[in-house]
């Protein structure tokens, strides 16, 4: 089923060049606390590299699985790819329109209704009103939140929230699609639907950046795996090798078991 033949066009889609991102952990909030800590010779803050000198290039139409343990810097890296964060060192270059979801949810506004959020989100992703109108039905049908479409998303269940987010993102006519743990809270039918949709997106030649802790779905979706470990890129290559490196496969081995594919994660 999984077609390893990337629909490569010889066109670079994402170029990440020696990218690092440093975060600061502030241990104290007030000046008083800081002064006390200073006098005790304690550290006021710590810096660490959430993404540490990462380089890779992705061709248009490739689908990349990004894996790594919690806190290894996957979402941070994707934030720099979609442009919501700026690297401290190095550079990120992308081609075309980027859509997708980072760290499960979309950037929704809780007071706005589902309908309004669809328009807002699509607009941020670069769609005009007409383009959104043209796809509205499709988005609503995919999200399938029923009569909650016109209630504020603040009252949505987390599953409904992520369905709507995914539905908008996936219907944006994009060139790069980022899927960061999109399946984490969806129910089984929705996960199936998402995977099918992403497969479709992938086959249309969109570059796919897929993050999941479910080895099976990565195997199914991706033709290359990147593994991050404490911010460093420790592996870039064959899917199975990457998964083996993380020992996510467990006892199931290569068995294409449904739960594994649909990510009965971790």
């Amino acid at each position: 089923m999984s077609v390893a033949t990337a629909t490569r066009t010889g066109l670079e889609s994402i170029v990440v060049d020696h990218v690092s991102k440093e975060f600061r952990l502030q241990y104290h909030r007030t000046l008083k606390q800081m002064a006390v800590a200073k006098s005790r010779k304690q550290k006021i803050s710590d810096r660490f590299l959430a993404v540490d000198d990462v380089s890779f290039a992705v061709q248009q139409g490739e689908s990349i699985g990004l894996m790594g343990l919690n806190g290894s810097g996957k979402s941070t890296l994707l934030r720099m790819v979609n442009g919501s964060m700026v690297p401290d060192r190095g550079s990120v270059r992308t081609r075309g329109r980027i859509s997708g979801l980072i760290a499960t949810g979309a950037g929704f506004h809780n007071q706005l209704t589902g309908r309004e959020n669809i328009y807002m989100n699509a607009a941020i992703l670069g769609m005009s009103r007409q383009q959104t109108d043209a796809r509205f039905e499709e988005i609503v049908e995919f999200a399938d939140v029923g009569r909650f479409l016109d209630t504020p998303v603040g009252v949505y269940s987390s599953g409904m929230y992520s369905r709507l987010g995914f539905a908008v993102a996936v219907h944006v006519d994009c060139d790069v699609f980022i899927a960061d743990e999109v399946l984490a809270v969806g129910d089984k039918p929705f996960k199936k639907k998402c995977l099918a949709k992403m497969e479709e997106v992938r086959r249309s030649g969109v570059t796919l950046f897929y993050v999941s802790h479910a080895a099976g779905s990565v195997k199914k979706m991706c033709d290359r795996v990147l593994v991050l470990e404490k911010g460093r890129l420790v592996f870039d290559g064959d899917v199975q090798e990457g998964i083996d490196l993380l020992e996510y496969d467990g006892d199931d081995g290569d068995e294409e078991n449904d739960d594994e594919v649909l990510g009965a994660d971790i």
Binding site: T9, L11, S84, V92, Q111, M120, A123, A134, E138, G205
Partner: protein
């Protein structure tokens, strides 16, 4: 593959390999910095998104309150009545300044616009945390939207002001109209600059809001609306303190507004009186102040672009 996009049927996915790349002509699309933005210029370019943000904020600002938009009348009205009572009646300004209420209200409209703009602008980026952390968009959008929402709320107040002027016998002239417009534009530019700068600073220094609250307390008293400009020249002459006082761009803006609205309600049988109510070089000062505010806006944009990159992580 010349597979034309049909959003309704999602027909775009039927194509073979290279489909999207060909359809979007990606070979002619350059590799770019995904976080790159041209700041305010980009905000102007993405007006559709801006309009959605403005509409959302208009809705959200009074969300859950039963009187909704009515509060944007009630708040200024209460403030106006307070000032009018204290300064116009208790301190007796009403007797010395003709049509004191309009003298006061003409200033209050734009002072209120300014303070609302930068206060809401200051909170705008923190209030859009979800978007700032996950989506790439020019972050100038948020303070600019806040400023526009405040502008929207200023509209009805202007209508009330004009109504009051007409009732007291307004005789508008073209020069006065130009003056008011100049005053308004000064505040518009200043409000945008302050909203922009404050929105970023508020994320990086959470104490900033407290500081700004104090500015908001001071501004109404720092301009000649509760008292006549004459009082300043009487106290300070044209010395250094007068210069300091006039260095506040809001002062010029308020005077220009009064030139547009208040003067023409006082009747022109007292030219001497009107003359002492304004500096002789009011227009000249107005243009200089507008230039300064524009420079300040450019500075704010520059500072914002420097600070912007630190916002997504600092907001967490």
């Amino acid at each position: 593959m010349t597979d034309v996009v049909d959003g309704r049927t999602g027909g775009r996915h039927r194509g073979g390999p290279g489909d999207v790349a060909e359809r979007h002509g990606l070979a002619h699309v350059p590799l770019i910095d995904p976080a790159g933005s041209t700041g305010l210029l980009e905000v102007l370019r993405r007006r559709y998104l801006l309009s959605l943000l403005v509409r959302r904020e208009i809705k959200a600002r009074y969300l859950g309150s039963r009187f909704g938009l009515l509060w944007s009348y009630i708040n200024p009205l209460v403030r106006f009545l307070t000032f009018y009572f204290v300064f116009g009646i208790i301190a007796g300004r009403g007797a010395t300044v003709e049509n004191f209420a309009i003298h006061l209200f003409a200033g209050m409209v734009i002072v209120h616009f300014l303070t609302e703009s930068y206060s809401a602008g200051m909170r705008s980026i923190i209030g859009n945390k979800g978007l700032v952390q996950k989506m790439a968009m020019p972050k100038e959008m948020f303070p600019v939207a806040s400023m526009l929402v405040s502008l929207y709320h200023t509209g009805p107040q202007l209508v009330i002001l004009i109504g009051a002027c007409l009732v007291t016998g307004w005789d508008p002239d073209l020069v006065g109209f130009g003056a008011a417009l100049l005053g308004f534009v000064i505040i518009l530019v200043l409000a945008t600059a302050m909203a922009l700068l404050f929105s970023a600073l508020n994320v990086l220094f959470r104490d900033f809001g407290r500081l700004v609250q104090n500015i908001t307390q001071v501004v109404p008293f720092s301009v000649p609306m509760m008292y006549p400009y004459e009082l300043i020249t009487e106290r300070f002459g044209t010395g250094i303190w007068h210069t300091v006082y006039m260095a506040n761009p809001v002062v010029e803006a308020v005077l220009l507004m009064q030139r547009g609205f208040w003067v023409n309600t006082t009747g022109d049988d007292q030219p001497a009186y009107v003359e002492s109510a304004f500096p002789a070089d009011l227009f000249q000062r107005g243009w200089i102040v507008l230039a300064c505010c524009t420079v300040f806006l450019v500075f704010s944009q520059w500072a914002f672009s420097r600070l912007e990159r630190r916002l997504p992580e600092a907001i967490g």
